[in-house]
Protein backbone atom coordinates (compact mmCIF):
# COMPACT_ATOMS: atom_id res chain seq x y z
CA UNK A 1 0.00 0.00 0.00
CA UNK A 2 2.68 2.47 1.07
CA UNK A 3 4.98 1.37 -1.70
CA UNK A 4 2.11 1.89 -4.11
CA UNK A 5 1.72 5.44 -2.87
CA UNK A 6 5.41 6.19 -3.33
CA UNK A 7 5.41 4.74 -6.83
CA UNK A 8 2.32 6.75 -7.71
CA UNK A 9 3.95 9.97 -6.50
CA UNK A 10 7.14 9.09 -8.38
CA UNK A 11 5.15 8.66 -11.57
CA UNK A 12 3.52 12.06 -11.05
CA UNK A 13 7.01 13.49 -10.86
CA UNK A 14 7.86 12.52 -14.43
CA UNK A 15 5.60 15.00 -16.29
CA UNK A 16 6.73 17.76 -13.94
CA UNK A 17 10.38 17.03 -14.66
CA UNK A 18 9.74 16.93 -18.41
CA UNK A 19 7.85 20.22 -18.12
CA UNK A 20 10.70 21.80 -16.17
CA UNK A 21 13.27 20.78 -18.74
CA UNK A 22 11.02 22.08 -21.49
CA UNK A 23 10.71 25.46 -19.77
CA UNK A 24 14.47 25.64 -19.20
CA UNK A 25 15.12 24.61 -22.79
CA UNK A 26 12.71 27.22 -24.16
CA UNK A 27 14.13 29.89 -21.87
CA UNK A 28 17.41 29.59 -23.70
CA UNK A 29 16.13 28.61 -27.15
CA UNK A 30 14.03 31.76 -27.27
CA UNK A 31 16.84 34.01 -26.12
CA UNK A 32 17.58 36.58 -28.77
CA UNK A 33 21.04 36.43 -30.30
CA UNK A 34 22.94 33.68 -32.09
CA UNK A 35 24.60 31.29 -29.60
CA UNK A 36 27.46 30.73 -32.05
CA UNK A 37 28.27 34.44 -32.18
CA UNK A 38 28.06 34.67 -28.37
CA UNK A 39 30.27 31.63 -27.96
CA UNK A 40 32.88 32.97 -30.35
CA UNK A 41 32.89 36.34 -28.65
CA UNK A 42 35.67 38.43 -30.16
CA UNK A 43 37.27 35.55 -32.01
CA UNK A 44 37.20 35.81 -35.75
CA UNK A 45 35.72 32.92 -37.71
CA UNK A 46 34.78 32.31 -41.32
CA UNK A 47 31.20 31.64 -42.34
CA UNK A 48 32.05 27.95 -42.89
CA UNK A 49 33.58 27.61 -39.45
CA UNK A 50 30.50 29.17 -37.91
CA UNK A 51 28.30 26.86 -39.92
CA UNK A 52 30.16 23.77 -38.77
CA UNK A 53 30.09 24.95 -35.17
CA UNK A 54 26.37 25.45 -35.49
CA UNK A 55 26.03 21.87 -36.79
CA UNK A 56 28.19 20.54 -33.96
CA UNK A 57 25.97 22.24 -31.42
CA UNK A 58 22.91 20.83 -33.15
CA UNK A 59 21.50 24.29 -33.80
CA UNK A 60 20.51 23.37 -37.36
CA UNK A 61 18.03 20.75 -36.13
CA UNK A 62 14.29 21.33 -35.70
CA UNK A 63 13.32 22.59 -32.22
CA UNK A 64 11.60 19.35 -31.17
CA UNK A 65 14.69 17.36 -32.04
CA UNK A 66 16.90 19.82 -30.21
CA UNK A 67 14.76 19.43 -27.11
CA UNK A 68 14.94 15.64 -27.30
CA UNK A 69 18.71 15.88 -27.62
CA UNK A 70 18.86 18.31 -24.71
CA UNK A 71 16.92 15.92 -22.45
CA UNK A 72 18.94 12.91 -23.57
CA UNK A 73 22.24 14.68 -22.95
CA UNK A 74 21.07 16.10 -19.62
CA UNK A 75 20.07 12.62 -18.42
CA UNK A 76 23.62 11.50 -19.17
CA UNK A 77 25.03 14.50 -17.30
CA UNK A 78 26.15 16.24 -20.47
CA UNK A 79 25.21 19.92 -20.45
CA UNK A 80 27.60 21.07 -23.13
CA UNK A 81 30.58 23.36 -22.69
CA UNK A 82 30.61 26.56 -20.74
CA UNK A 83 31.40 29.55 -23.01
CA UNK A 84 33.08 31.39 -20.19
CA UNK A 85 34.88 28.67 -18.21
CA UNK A 86 35.90 26.84 -21.39
CA UNK A 87 35.24 23.40 -19.96
CA UNK A 88 32.24 21.09 -19.56
CA UNK A 89 29.34 22.71 -17.74
CA UNK A 90 28.85 19.54 -15.67
CA UNK A 91 32.34 20.02 -14.24
CA UNK A 92 31.65 23.60 -13.20
CA UNK A 93 28.37 22.56 -11.57
CA UNK A 94 29.90 19.61 -9.74
CA UNK A 95 32.54 21.95 -8.38
CA UNK A 96 30.11 24.63 -7.20
CA UNK A 97 27.07 22.67 -6.09
CA UNK A 98 28.46 21.40 -2.75
CA UNK A 99 29.03 24.97 -1.53
CA UNK A 100 25.39 25.82 -2.24
CA UNK A 101 24.10 22.65 -0.59
CA UNK A 102 26.28 23.24 2.46
CA UNK A 103 25.06 26.80 2.85
CA UNK A 104 21.44 25.72 2.43
CA UNK A 105 21.74 22.98 5.04
CA UNK A 106 23.41 25.21 7.62
CA UNK A 107 20.84 27.96 7.01
CA UNK A 108 18.04 25.46 7.49
CA UNK A 109 19.59 24.14 10.71
CA UNK A 110 19.93 27.67 12.07
CA UNK A 111 16.34 28.43 11.10
CA UNK A 112 15.07 25.29 12.86
CA UNK A 113 17.22 25.92 15.93
CA UNK A 114 15.73 29.40 16.28
CA UNK A 115 12.18 28.63 15.18
CA UNK A 116 11.31 25.54 17.21
CA UNK A 117 12.11 26.83 20.73
CA UNK A 118 10.62 30.25 19.99
CA UNK A 119 7.52 28.75 18.40
CA UNK A 120 6.96 26.36 21.30
CA UNK A 121 7.51 29.12 23.85
CA UNK A 122 5.08 31.41 22.03
CA UNK A 123 2.47 28.63 21.92
CA UNK A 124 2.84 27.65 25.55
CA UNK A 125 2.72 31.26 26.74
CA UNK A 126 0.06 32.22 24.25
CA UNK A 127 -0.89 35.90 24.40
CA UNK A 128 2.04 36.75 26.68
CA UNK A 129 4.73 39.31 26.02
CA UNK A 130 7.01 36.57 24.67
CA UNK A 131 4.31 35.52 22.22
CA UNK A 132 3.79 39.08 20.99
CA UNK A 133 7.53 39.70 20.71
CA UNK A 134 7.93 36.49 18.72
CA UNK A 135 5.17 37.58 16.33
CA UNK A 136 6.81 40.95 15.77
CA UNK A 137 10.26 39.37 15.31
CA UNK A 138 8.86 36.95 12.76
CA UNK A 139 7.19 39.74 10.77
CA UNK A 140 10.43 41.71 10.81
CA UNK A 141 12.30 38.62 9.62
CA UNK A 142 9.93 38.08 6.72
CA UNK A 143 10.01 41.74 5.69
CA UNK A 144 13.77 42.18 5.62
CA UNK A 145 15.25 41.93 2.12
CA UNK A 146 18.04 39.34 2.26
CA UNK A 147 20.60 41.38 0.38
CA UNK A 148 20.16 44.33 2.70
CA UNK A 149 20.32 42.21 5.84
CA UNK A 150 23.52 40.64 4.53
CA UNK A 151 25.09 44.01 3.87
CA UNK A 152 24.05 45.32 7.29
CA UNK A 153 25.60 42.27 8.95
CA UNK A 154 28.82 42.81 7.01
CA UNK A 155 28.79 46.49 7.93
CA UNK A 156 28.39 45.76 11.63
CA UNK A 157 30.26 42.51 12.25
CA UNK A 158 32.94 42.60 9.58
CA UNK A 159 33.65 46.25 8.81
CA UNK A 160 33.07 47.88 12.20
CA UNK A 161 33.67 45.18 14.77
CA UNK A 162 36.00 43.04 12.68
CA UNK A 163 34.61 39.84 14.23
CA UNK A 164 33.59 38.15 11.02
CA UNK A 165 35.21 37.59 7.62
CA UNK A 166 33.63 39.62 4.81
CA UNK A 167 33.53 36.82 2.26
CA UNK A 168 34.70 33.39 1.17
CA UNK A 169 34.32 29.87 2.57
CA UNK A 170 37.63 29.39 4.38
CA UNK A 171 40.98 31.17 4.79
CA UNK A 172 43.62 30.35 2.22
CA UNK A 173 45.94 29.08 4.95
CA UNK A 174 43.76 25.99 5.33
CA UNK A 175 43.73 23.13 2.94
CA UNK A 176 41.01 20.54 3.13
CA UNK A 177 41.30 17.60 0.73
CA UNK A 178 38.01 17.25 -1.08
CA UNK A 179 35.69 14.38 -0.29
CA UNK A 180 32.20 15.78 -0.75
CA UNK A 181 33.17 19.36 -1.47
CA UNK A 182 31.29 20.46 1.62
CA UNK A 183 34.11 21.91 3.65
CA UNK A 184 32.46 21.63 7.06
CA UNK A 185 31.81 17.96 6.52
CA UNK A 186 35.13 17.18 4.87
CA UNK A 187 37.22 18.90 7.54
CA UNK A 188 35.32 17.23 10.35
CA UNK A 189 35.66 13.73 8.93
CA UNK A 190 39.36 14.24 8.40
CA UNK A 191 39.85 15.57 11.90
CA UNK A 192 41.00 18.99 10.75
CA UNK A 193 39.29 20.87 13.53
CA UNK A 194 41.04 24.21 13.01
CA UNK A 195 39.85 24.22 9.40
CA UNK A 196 36.37 23.22 10.54
CA UNK A 197 36.18 26.14 12.97
CA UNK A 198 37.48 28.52 10.35
CA UNK A 199 34.88 27.34 7.82
CA UNK A 200 32.18 27.60 10.48
CA UNK A 201 33.26 31.16 11.14
CA UNK A 202 32.92 31.93 7.44
CA UNK A 203 29.53 30.32 6.94
CA UNK A 204 27.85 31.92 9.94
CA UNK A 205 26.84 35.29 8.47
CA UNK A 206 25.71 33.98 5.08
CA UNK A 207 23.71 31.21 6.74
CA UNK A 208 22.05 33.58 9.21
CA UNK A 209 21.15 35.94 6.37
CA UNK A 210 19.68 33.09 4.36
CA UNK A 211 17.93 31.44 7.30
CA UNK A 212 16.31 34.41 9.01
CA UNK A 213 13.17 34.67 6.89
CA UNK A 214 12.86 30.89 7.02
CA UNK A 215 13.16 30.99 10.80
CA UNK A 216 10.35 33.53 10.92
CA UNK A 217 8.09 31.37 8.80
CA UNK A 218 8.87 28.14 10.66
CA UNK A 219 8.33 29.82 14.00
CA UNK A 220 4.79 30.71 13.02
CA UNK A 221 4.12 27.21 11.74
CA UNK A 222 5.47 25.65 14.94
CA UNK A 223 3.46 28.02 17.11
CA UNK A 224 0.20 27.34 15.27
CA UNK A 225 0.57 23.58 15.22
CA UNK A 226 1.72 23.49 18.84
CA UNK A 227 -1.35 25.46 19.91
CA UNK A 228 -3.51 23.01 18.02
CA UNK A 229 -1.82 19.96 19.51
CA UNK A 230 -1.99 21.33 23.05
CA UNK A 231 -5.78 21.38 22.81
CA UNK A 232 -6.01 17.71 21.88
CA UNK A 233 -7.58 15.20 24.23
CA UNK A 234 -4.47 13.08 24.60
CA UNK A 235 -2.52 16.05 25.95
CA UNK A 236 -5.25 16.83 28.44
CA UNK A 237 -5.22 13.15 29.38
CA UNK A 238 -1.44 13.06 29.78
CA UNK A 239 -1.61 16.06 32.06
CA UNK A 240 -4.49 14.57 34.01
CA UNK A 241 -2.38 11.45 34.51
CA UNK A 242 -0.03 13.67 36.44
CA UNK A 243 2.89 13.71 34.01
CA UNK A 244 5.19 16.67 34.40
CA UNK A 245 4.62 19.65 32.16
CA UNK A 246 8.02 19.31 30.50
CA UNK A 247 7.44 15.66 29.76
CA UNK A 248 4.04 16.32 28.26
CA UNK A 249 5.41 19.12 26.12
CA UNK A 250 8.41 17.29 24.78
CA UNK A 251 7.31 13.67 24.63
CA UNK A 252 3.70 14.11 23.69
CA UNK A 253 3.09 17.49 22.15
CA UNK A 254 6.28 18.47 20.37
CA UNK A 255 6.63 15.20 18.55
CA UNK A 256 3.34 15.72 16.76
CA UNK A 257 3.57 19.47 16.49
CA UNK A 258 6.80 19.19 14.54
CA UNK A 259 5.31 17.29 11.61
CA UNK A 260 4.03 20.46 9.92
CA UNK A 261 7.25 22.31 10.77
CA UNK A 262 9.44 19.73 9.11
CA UNK A 263 7.13 19.51 6.10
CA UNK A 264 7.03 23.26 5.59
CA UNK A 265 10.81 23.40 6.04
CA UNK A 266 11.26 20.92 3.22
CA UNK A 267 8.64 22.54 1.00
CA UNK A 268 10.30 25.91 1.43
CA UNK A 269 13.74 24.64 0.43
CA UNK A 270 13.07 26.30 -2.90
CA UNK A 271 12.93 29.60 -1.10
CA UNK A 272 16.41 28.97 0.31
CA UNK A 273 17.73 27.81 -3.07
CA UNK A 274 16.44 31.04 -4.63
CA UNK A 275 17.70 33.14 -1.73
CA UNK A 276 21.10 31.57 -2.26
CA UNK A 277 21.63 33.71 -5.37
CA UNK A 278 21.42 36.84 -3.27
CA UNK A 279 23.44 35.58 -0.33
CA UNK A 280 26.15 34.05 -2.51
CA UNK A 281 26.53 37.34 -4.38
CA UNK A 282 26.63 39.43 -1.18
CA UNK A 283 29.12 37.20 0.64
CA UNK A 284 31.21 36.10 -2.34
CA UNK A 285 30.21 32.52 -1.65
CA UNK A 286 31.51 30.31 -4.47
CA UNK A 287 28.29 28.35 -5.01
CA UNK A 288 26.10 27.34 -7.93
CA UNK A 289 23.59 30.16 -7.54
CA UNK A 290 26.33 32.73 -7.94
CA UNK A 291 27.65 30.97 -11.01
CA UNK A 292 24.19 31.23 -12.59
CA UNK A 293 24.03 34.99 -12.04
CA UNK A 294 27.58 35.44 -13.29
CA UNK A 295 26.70 33.25 -16.27
CA UNK A 296 23.98 35.73 -17.16
CA UNK A 297 26.42 38.63 -17.01
CA UNK A 298 28.80 36.78 -19.35
CA UNK A 299 25.98 35.39 -21.51
CA UNK A 300 27.15 31.87 -20.73
CA UNK A 301 23.84 30.25 -21.67
CA UNK A 302 24.70 26.55 -21.41
CA UNK A 303 25.85 27.16 -17.85
CA UNK A 304 22.77 29.19 -16.89
CA UNK A 305 20.50 26.60 -18.46
CA UNK A 306 22.10 23.67 -16.65
CA UNK A 307 22.32 25.57 -13.36
CA UNK A 308 18.64 26.49 -13.38
CA UNK A 309 17.73 22.93 -14.35
CA UNK A 310 19.83 21.36 -11.60
CA UNK A 311 18.39 23.65 -8.93
CA UNK A 312 14.82 23.03 -10.09
CA UNK A 313 15.36 19.27 -10.09
CA UNK A 314 16.82 19.38 -6.57
CA UNK A 315 13.86 21.44 -5.44
CA UNK A 316 11.27 19.11 -6.94
CA UNK A 317 13.03 16.08 -5.48
CA UNK A 318 13.14 17.58 -1.98
CA UNK A 319 9.47 18.46 -2.24
CA UNK A 320 8.68 14.93 -3.31
CA UNK A 321 10.58 13.55 -0.33
CA UNK A 322 8.80 15.98 2.01
CA UNK A 323 5.45 14.98 0.64
CA UNK A 324 6.13 11.27 1.02
CA UNK A 325 7.58 11.71 4.50
CA UNK A 326 4.63 13.78 5.65
CA UNK A 327 2.19 11.20 4.45
CA UNK A 328 4.11 8.36 6.07
CA UNK A 329 4.66 10.22 9.36
CA UNK A 330 1.18 11.55 9.77
CA UNK A 331 -1.06 8.87 11.23
CA UNK A 332 -4.13 10.85 10.26
CA UNK A 333 -3.46 10.48 6.55
CA UNK A 334 -4.88 7.12 5.55
CA UNK A 335 -3.37 5.46 2.54
Amino acid sequence: MRLGFIVERLLQLIPVLIGISLVVFLMMALTPGDPVEIMLGDQLATAEQKESLRRDMGLDLPVAERFARFVKNALGGDFGRSFFHRRPVAEVIAERLPATIELTIVAMLIALAVAIPLGVLAAVRRGSLIDKAATVISLVGVSMPGFWLGIMLILLFAVHLGWMPVSGRIDYAFEVPRITGMILFDSLVQGRYAAFLNALHHILMPAVTLGLAMAALLMRVTRTSMIEVLQQDYIVFAEAKGLSRARVLVRHALKNALIPTVTVAALETGYLLGGNTIVEMVFGWPGLARVIVEGIYSRDYPLVQAGVLVIAVIYVTVNFAADVLYTLLNPRVKL
Binding site: V16, G19, S143, P145, F147, I154, V159, G270, I278, V282
Partner: protein, 298 residues
Protein backbone atom coordinates in the same frame (compact mmCIF):
# COMPACT_ATOMS: atom_id res chain seq x y z
CA UNK B 1 -35.09 34.94 -11.86
CA UNK B 2 -31.39 34.81 -12.59
CA UNK B 3 -31.06 38.51 -12.09
CA UNK B 4 -32.83 38.27 -8.75
CA UNK B 5 -30.52 35.48 -7.65
CA UNK B 6 -27.52 37.43 -8.84
CA UNK B 7 -28.68 40.56 -7.10
CA UNK B 8 -29.18 38.83 -3.78
CA UNK B 9 -25.77 37.20 -4.11
CA UNK B 10 -24.22 40.55 -4.88
CA UNK B 11 -25.94 42.18 -1.92
CA UNK B 12 -24.82 39.47 0.42
CA UNK B 13 -21.25 39.70 -0.85
CA UNK B 14 -21.36 43.43 -0.38
CA UNK B 15 -22.39 43.09 3.21
CA UNK B 16 -19.79 40.41 3.97
CA UNK B 17 -17.10 42.65 2.52
CA UNK B 18 -18.41 45.55 4.57
CA UNK B 19 -18.51 43.51 7.78
CA UNK B 20 -14.97 42.34 7.12
CA UNK B 21 -13.76 45.85 6.47
CA UNK B 22 -15.36 47.04 9.72
CA UNK B 23 -13.50 44.28 11.55
CA UNK B 24 -10.31 45.42 9.89
CA UNK B 25 -10.73 49.02 11.06
CA UNK B 26 -10.87 47.83 14.67
CA UNK B 27 -7.33 46.38 14.45
CA UNK B 28 -5.18 49.32 15.52
CA UNK B 29 -1.79 47.98 14.44
CA UNK B 30 -3.16 47.06 11.04
CA UNK B 31 -4.62 50.54 10.62
CA UNK B 32 -1.30 52.19 11.46
CA UNK B 33 0.42 49.87 8.98
CA UNK B 34 -2.18 50.60 6.32
CA UNK B 35 -1.60 54.32 6.90
CA UNK B 36 2.10 53.68 6.38
CA UNK B 37 1.40 51.95 3.09
CA UNK B 38 -0.78 54.88 2.02
CA UNK B 39 2.07 57.26 2.91
CA UNK B 40 4.46 55.32 0.70
CA UNK B 41 1.93 55.36 -2.14
CA UNK B 42 1.50 59.11 -1.71
CA UNK B 43 5.27 59.54 -1.72
CA UNK B 44 5.45 57.66 -5.01
CA UNK B 45 2.64 59.66 -6.60
CA UNK B 46 3.88 63.05 -5.43
CA UNK B 47 7.58 62.36 -5.99
CA UNK B 48 8.22 65.36 -8.29
CA UNK B 49 6.80 67.73 -5.65
CA UNK B 50 8.24 66.02 -2.60
CA UNK B 51 11.80 65.37 -3.73
CA UNK B 52 14.05 68.22 -2.58
CA UNK B 53 16.46 67.71 -5.50
CA UNK B 54 16.60 66.19 -8.95
CA UNK B 55 17.31 62.46 -8.32
CA UNK B 56 19.50 62.27 -11.43
CA UNK B 57 21.44 65.46 -10.79
CA UNK B 58 25.09 64.48 -10.30
CA UNK B 59 27.49 66.72 -8.43
CA UNK B 60 30.97 65.32 -7.94
CA UNK B 61 31.74 67.94 -5.29
CA UNK B 62 29.13 66.23 -3.13
CA UNK B 63 30.44 62.74 -3.82
CA UNK B 64 29.63 60.48 -0.82
CA UNK B 65 28.60 63.47 1.28
CA UNK B 66 27.51 62.17 4.71
CA UNK B 67 24.03 62.59 6.22
CA UNK B 68 23.16 65.93 7.83
CA UNK B 69 23.93 64.92 11.43
CA UNK B 70 27.45 63.80 10.61
CA UNK B 71 30.49 65.95 10.11
CA UNK B 72 30.49 67.40 6.61
CA UNK B 73 26.75 66.84 6.14
CA UNK B 74 24.17 69.55 5.46
CA UNK B 75 20.44 69.68 6.10
CA UNK B 76 19.41 70.21 2.51
CA UNK B 77 20.86 66.74 1.81
CA UNK B 78 19.51 65.01 4.91
CA UNK B 79 20.56 61.43 4.14
CA UNK B 80 23.69 62.42 2.28
CA UNK B 81 24.73 61.73 -1.30
CA UNK B 82 25.81 58.71 -3.34
CA UNK B 83 29.00 58.10 -5.29
CA UNK B 84 27.91 60.49 -8.04
CA UNK B 85 26.83 63.18 -5.61
CA UNK B 86 23.12 62.54 -6.11
CA UNK B 87 20.75 63.30 -3.24
CA UNK B 88 19.80 60.03 -1.53
CA UNK B 89 16.47 61.29 -0.14
CA UNK B 90 15.29 62.31 -3.61
CA UNK B 91 16.39 59.00 -5.07
CA UNK B 92 14.55 57.08 -2.35
CA UNK B 93 11.41 59.09 -3.03
CA UNK B 94 11.63 58.40 -6.76
CA UNK B 95 12.57 54.78 -6.09
CA UNK B 96 9.22 54.28 -4.36
CA UNK B 97 7.59 54.79 -7.75
CA UNK B 98 9.35 51.81 -9.29
CA UNK B 99 8.82 49.45 -6.35
CA UNK B 100 5.17 50.31 -5.91
CA UNK B 101 4.37 50.43 -9.60
CA UNK B 102 5.87 47.00 -10.20
CA UNK B 103 4.27 45.60 -7.05
CA UNK B 104 0.81 46.82 -8.03
CA UNK B 105 0.99 45.94 -11.73
CA UNK B 106 2.41 42.45 -11.19
CA UNK B 107 -0.15 41.61 -8.52
CA UNK B 108 -3.04 42.93 -10.64
CA UNK B 109 -1.99 41.10 -13.81
CA UNK B 110 -1.12 37.89 -12.00
CA UNK B 111 -4.36 37.95 -10.02
CA UNK B 112 -6.35 38.51 -13.20
CA UNK B 113 -4.70 35.65 -15.09
CA UNK B 114 -4.61 33.39 -12.04
CA UNK B 115 -8.28 34.00 -11.24
CA UNK B 116 -9.46 33.22 -14.74
CA UNK B 117 -7.27 30.11 -14.95
CA UNK B 118 -8.29 29.01 -11.45
CA UNK B 119 -12.00 29.47 -12.17
CA UNK B 120 -11.70 27.51 -15.40
CA UNK B 121 -9.70 24.71 -13.78
CA UNK B 122 -11.93 24.48 -10.72
CA UNK B 123 -15.29 24.80 -12.42
CA UNK B 124 -14.78 23.16 -15.80
CA UNK B 125 -12.53 20.39 -14.47
CA UNK B 126 -11.54 17.56 -16.79
CA UNK B 127 -8.94 18.25 -19.43
CA UNK B 128 -8.93 22.01 -18.76
CA UNK B 129 -8.09 21.37 -15.13
CA UNK B 130 -5.52 18.77 -16.14
CA UNK B 131 -3.64 21.13 -18.45
CA UNK B 132 -3.76 24.13 -16.12
CA UNK B 133 -2.77 22.12 -13.07
CA UNK B 134 0.19 20.55 -14.88
CA UNK B 135 1.43 23.98 -15.97
CA UNK B 136 1.10 25.21 -12.39
CA UNK B 137 2.98 22.14 -11.09
CA UNK B 138 5.83 22.73 -13.51
CA UNK B 139 6.13 26.44 -12.67
CA UNK B 140 6.02 25.69 -8.96
CA UNK B 141 8.99 23.40 -9.51
CA UNK B 142 11.26 26.41 -9.93
CA UNK B 143 12.50 28.42 -6.98
CA UNK B 144 10.98 31.86 -7.61
CA UNK B 145 14.12 33.94 -7.76
CA UNK B 146 15.99 31.41 -9.89
CA UNK B 147 13.12 31.37 -12.37
CA UNK B 148 12.98 35.16 -12.53
CA UNK B 149 16.76 35.38 -12.89
CA UNK B 150 16.74 32.88 -15.75
CA UNK B 151 13.98 34.81 -17.52
CA UNK B 152 15.64 38.17 -16.98
CA UNK B 153 18.84 36.72 -18.37
CA UNK B 154 16.96 35.70 -21.47
CA UNK B 155 14.82 38.80 -21.93
CA UNK B 156 17.31 41.40 -20.75
CA UNK B 157 16.72 44.07 -18.11
CA UNK B 158 14.00 46.71 -18.13
CA UNK B 159 10.65 47.54 -16.58
CA UNK B 160 8.44 45.56 -18.95
CA UNK B 161 10.62 42.45 -18.69
CA UNK B 162 10.66 42.51 -14.89
CA UNK B 163 6.88 42.65 -14.86
CA UNK B 164 6.63 39.77 -17.35
CA UNK B 165 9.24 37.64 -15.57
CA UNK B 166 7.37 37.97 -12.29
CA UNK B 167 3.85 37.54 -13.72
CA UNK B 168 4.88 34.33 -15.54
CA UNK B 169 5.23 32.63 -12.19
CA UNK B 170 3.12 34.75 -9.86
CA UNK B 171 -0.23 33.85 -11.45
CA UNK B 172 0.12 30.28 -10.18
CA UNK B 173 -0.37 31.52 -6.61
CA UNK B 174 -3.81 33.06 -7.14
CA UNK B 175 -4.68 30.26 -9.56
CA UNK B 176 -4.23 27.64 -6.86
CA UNK B 177 -6.22 29.63 -4.33
CA UNK B 178 -9.08 30.29 -6.76
CA UNK B 179 -9.13 26.70 -8.01
CA UNK B 180 -9.41 25.38 -4.46
CA UNK B 181 -12.12 27.86 -3.50
CA UNK B 182 -14.01 27.17 -6.72
CA UNK B 183 -13.96 23.43 -6.09
CA UNK B 184 -15.37 24.10 -2.62
CA UNK B 185 -18.02 26.46 -3.95
CA UNK B 186 -19.20 24.79 -7.13
CA UNK B 187 -21.50 22.28 -5.46
CA UNK B 188 -23.14 24.80 -3.13
CA UNK B 189 -26.87 25.30 -3.48
CA UNK B 190 -26.87 28.77 -4.97
CA UNK B 191 -24.52 27.67 -7.75
CA UNK B 192 -26.68 24.65 -8.38
CA UNK B 193 -29.73 26.90 -8.42
CA UNK B 194 -28.14 29.11 -11.05
CA UNK B 195 -27.30 26.00 -13.08
CA UNK B 196 -30.84 24.76 -12.74
CA UNK B 197 -32.32 27.95 -14.16
CA UNK B 198 -30.00 27.64 -17.15
CA UNK B 199 -27.30 30.19 -16.42
CA UNK B 200 -24.30 29.91 -18.71
CA UNK B 201 -20.98 28.60 -17.43
CA UNK B 202 -19.34 31.97 -17.87
CA UNK B 203 -22.15 33.57 -15.93
CA UNK B 204 -21.83 31.07 -13.09
CA UNK B 205 -18.07 31.44 -12.89
CA UNK B 206 -17.93 35.22 -13.03
CA UNK B 207 -21.19 36.22 -11.39
CA UNK B 208 -21.93 33.46 -8.90
CA UNK B 209 -18.62 31.98 -7.81
CA UNK B 210 -16.17 34.86 -8.22
CA UNK B 211 -17.95 37.36 -5.92
CA UNK B 212 -18.01 34.75 -3.19
CA UNK B 213 -14.32 34.01 -3.26
CA UNK B 214 -13.21 37.64 -3.27
CA UNK B 215 -12.14 37.71 0.38
CA UNK B 216 -9.38 35.08 0.20
CA UNK B 217 -8.33 36.53 -3.15
CA UNK B 218 -7.86 40.02 -1.72
CA UNK B 219 -5.93 38.67 1.25
CA UNK B 220 -3.58 36.69 -0.98
CA UNK B 221 -3.06 39.60 -3.36
CA UNK B 222 -2.03 42.03 -0.62
CA UNK B 223 0.33 39.52 0.98
CA UNK B 224 1.92 38.80 -2.37
CA UNK B 225 2.62 42.45 -3.08
CA UNK B 226 5.21 42.43 -0.29
CA UNK B 227 6.95 39.44 -1.84
CA UNK B 228 6.90 40.99 -5.31
CA UNK B 229 8.49 44.19 -4.02
CA UNK B 230 11.33 42.22 -2.43
CA UNK B 231 11.78 40.17 -5.62
CA UNK B 232 11.99 43.25 -7.82
CA UNK B 233 14.50 44.82 -5.43
CA UNK B 234 16.50 41.58 -5.47
CA UNK B 235 16.60 41.51 -9.28
CA UNK B 236 17.65 45.14 -9.40
CA UNK B 237 20.24 44.45 -6.71
CA UNK B 238 21.72 41.73 -8.92
CA UNK B 239 21.82 44.18 -11.82
CA UNK B 240 19.17 42.24 -13.73
CA UNK B 241 16.26 44.55 -13.07
CA UNK B 242 15.98 48.29 -13.44
CA UNK B 243 19.07 49.83 -14.96
CA UNK B 244 20.96 52.94 -13.86
CA UNK B 245 20.57 55.84 -13.69
CA UNK B 246 16.97 54.98 -12.72
CA UNK B 247 16.55 55.20 -8.98
CA UNK B 248 15.51 51.69 -7.91
CA UNK B 249 15.90 50.78 -4.25
CA UNK B 250 17.55 47.47 -5.06
CA UNK B 251 20.19 48.95 -7.34
CA UNK B 252 20.83 51.75 -4.83
CA UNK B 253 21.70 49.14 -2.20
CA UNK B 254 23.94 47.38 -4.72
CA UNK B 255 25.64 50.69 -5.38
CA UNK B 256 26.22 51.19 -1.65
CA UNK B 257 27.96 47.84 -1.33
CA UNK B 258 31.13 49.25 -2.84
CA UNK B 259 31.36 51.97 -0.19
CA UNK B 260 30.58 50.03 2.96
CA UNK B 261 33.69 51.08 4.85
CA UNK B 262 33.62 54.79 4.03
CA UNK B 263 30.02 55.65 3.15
CA UNK B 264 27.60 53.28 4.87
CA UNK B 265 24.63 55.57 4.23
CA UNK B 266 24.57 54.98 0.47
CA UNK B 267 23.21 51.43 0.78
CA UNK B 268 21.66 51.55 4.24
CA UNK B 269 18.81 54.02 3.69
CA UNK B 270 17.35 52.62 0.44
CA UNK B 271 17.36 49.16 2.06
CA UNK B 272 15.60 50.60 5.09
CA UNK B 273 12.94 52.02 2.75
CA UNK B 274 12.30 48.56 1.25
CA UNK B 275 12.14 47.03 4.71
CA UNK B 276 9.66 49.62 6.05
CA UNK B 277 7.36 49.42 3.03
CA UNK B 278 7.34 45.61 3.04
CA UNK B 279 6.82 45.50 6.82
CA UNK B 280 3.89 47.91 6.54
CA UNK B 281 2.30 45.82 3.78
CA UNK B 282 2.82 42.61 5.74
CA UNK B 283 1.30 44.07 8.92
CA UNK B 284 -1.66 45.49 7.03
CA UNK B 285 -2.28 42.28 5.14
CA UNK B 286 -2.09 40.28 8.35
CA UNK B 287 -4.83 42.55 9.70
CA UNK B 288 -6.83 41.93 6.54
CA UNK B 289 -6.39 38.20 6.91
CA UNK B 290 -7.52 38.24 10.52
CA UNK B 291 -10.59 40.26 9.60
CA UNK B 292 -11.50 38.44 6.39
CA UNK B 293 -10.78 34.86 7.11
CA UNK B 294 -11.71 33.49 10.50
CA UNK B 295 -10.24 30.12 9.54
CA UNK B 296 -6.76 31.59 9.27
CA UNK B 297 -6.89 33.54 12.51
CA UNK B 298 -4.31 32.38 14.98
Amino acid sequence: MITAAVRSAAERQDSILRINLRKFTRDRLAIVAAAGVVLFFAMALLAPWLAPHDPYDTDLLRRLQPPAWMEGGEWSYVLGCDSLGRDIVSRIIYGARISIFIGVVVVLLATLVGTLAGLAAGYLGGAVDGVISRIVDVLLGFPYLIFAIGLMGMMGPGLQNIILALVYKEWTISCRVVRGETLATRELEYVEAARAVGASRTHIMLREILPNIMSPLIVVATTRMATIIILEASLSFLGLGMQPPLASWGSMVADGRSFLSDAWWVGTFPGLAIFLLVLAINLASQGLRDAFDPRLRQ
